[in-house]
Symmetry: C2
Subunit: 392 residues, 2 copies
Amino acid sequence: MENFNFYSPTEFVFGKGRAAETGIYVRKYGGTKVLMHYGGGSAVRSGLIDTVRKSLAYAGIAYCELGGVQPNPRDTLVYKGIELCRNEGIDFILAVGGGSVIDSSKAIALGVPYAGDFWDMYSGKPVEKALPVGTVLTIAAAGSEGSGDSVITKEDGMLKRGTGSEHLRPKFSVMDPALTQTLPAYQTACGATDIMAHVFERYFTNTKEVEITDRLCEAVLLTMVRETPRVIADPDNYEARANIMWAGTVAHTNLCGVGREQDWNSHGLEHELSGLYDVAHGAGLAVIMPAWMEFVHNHNVMRFCQMATRVFGCQMNYEDPEATALEGIRCFRSFLKSIGMPINFAELGAKEEDIPTLVEKFGVGDGRTGGFVKLSAADVTEIYKIAAHAAL
Amino acid sequence: MENFNFYSPTEFVFGKGRAAETGIYVRKYGGTKVLMHYGGGSAVRSGLIDTVRKSLAYAGIAYCELGGVQPNPRDTLVYKGIELCRNEGIDFILAVGGGSVIDSSKAIALGVPYAGDFWDMYSGKPVEKALPVGTVLTIAAAGSEGSGDSVITKEDGMLKRGTGSEHLRPKFSVMDPALTQTLPAYQTACGATDIMAHVFERYFTNTKEVEITDRLCEAVLLTMVRETPRVIADPDNYEARANIMWAGTVAHTNLCGVGREQDWNSHGLEHELSGLYDVAHGAGLAVIMPAWMEFVHNHNVMRFCQMATRVFGCQMNYEDPEATALEGIRCFRSFLKSIGMPINFAELGAKEEDIPTLVEKFGVGDGRTGGFVKLSAADVTEIYKIAAHAAL
């Protein structure tokens, strides 16, 4: 096991009806004048925005609002938010929505106290300061409610880039699984895929002897394999929604990743897809991640056998371990298909002829990008090709 | 799943050689004049106390010291510590040791700003304030390094009582698995038993549909079942020590318990044993917990089957589920025996004729104590009797 720090100081406020307590938590964590940031559409229609407004007013907290966050949130709205916060003397950012809204809120939070262009922090500059952020989560997916990460898309060129810092971890996150019951099945499945991907990026490691982290990863994955088909079949299943929502947070506080080298190449490969085609991140991951697994499985066949047997319940083939490894990957892709995810370029709406563009944007150049398996530009091309033609 | 809040704001500083960073973290969390609290013996002999002293001095932090914490830490030393802190103007308590030292430190921390007798908080009064606490952990066991709990023994009558509060959660905990390599096998095994007990107290619940928490519980238990025999066989196995140490923390931050009713009767039953005989808490749990399981297994046979199959790898007997449940309990007791734990009163040094005293001190009176199964005084007597005579 490698040395590590684990620090997850977010207060999670979990359960039915808890959005009405939002104002109490904003106050507890020092907010006096709040920017309420959201997407629009469903959060407004469902009455959630109104519930939060009332809760803020009840707690005596002043606020202004900025809606309109899109999936794959854009830098353009972040600039608008930063300006608004400065003009209004905002001291707390409240995200009401899913990963995109939370990521956009974090970008505004780090941009307000920074004299230069906030994009600097998405180009490698460390975050030194940020306004406090709280969230009211509406989708189980990104894990952004418990992480210090944020991903923003630069509209000019559709460049998708991320940053991470302890300063960006939400002070609190209100998580009501009932709020996710109105999500379309496709979005629910995209979220589930993202959650599983967050675990797999950490599960495939070259670090030996991290049994506790392996088992925690498998705990989340087993939960997702059981609960996801239940919510796809019955969107109103509160219990299954609750299990998925909490699994999504556990998947991304880094509890599943401490003490070990992590991969994250699949996320990088996917960012180019959703950047270029503006598709859902989870859908892109469903296409990329099994393709990545197929490409790298020979790097450590036994680790893929562990996934196959422990997560997907495959029988170990002791005469032909590779067959078990491939069976596990097949099970994963088949699971994704069964919950309605695309599994190849055509189903996603991506084009094989764009692969050179994707590879170039991914930017491995002549170097190799690290993690479980270092990838060259040729390797990346090959993974996109596998993803293009994948079938069950 | 029940509504819950989860808040674990401790910064865990994990890995080889990290005790030398202690001063940095005391400073980070606002300590300027520290009480360094420890047991004595091994922490001094190993040079750890010296390492921490140097680290504090290097960070420019003033400190005074109070050693002498015993296992089952006493109120008498807590009173001494409170007085010392007041006289010296201490603003931060640094625990260097295991659960007993940390619990004693928390008691001092809550006692210093409290005008009355600190024991009030161990008699049901809520904790409203406490000095910040940091820890340098030397034993994987109590989980006190990541919890808001503390248990103290009143010397007059050997009364063992606990308290819990968010104010008592350590600001940081330095965890170097190498520090546990010098522990005698017996103490290592006691610690492992305590860790598993912290999970089982949460695992046996009447709350339905908490798959994610179940799976996280099983992740910790599976890790303990694999790693404990490895450190008993080879005390210098750093990797196994590291897995156990982190599992011990995960077991008790309440990540394994959120969203569900919990039991905790076994801990209560054990506190009377270690209170009366001054035996190690883990050893008492090894005697009590399987006895409790035998007594309550019919309350929910399927839950015990889940333990048997998922944790101990038993084959499910579909014709006779109870046989599987009992086989799981037998596996647990056999595991405890194999790591050197006592499994009955004689091996622990307890006496069957004291059972009425134990039951009286446990204090269920005519009422019933809650959790997974509500217990009457007669039930408690029966559990102690099973524990007295247990055999493989």
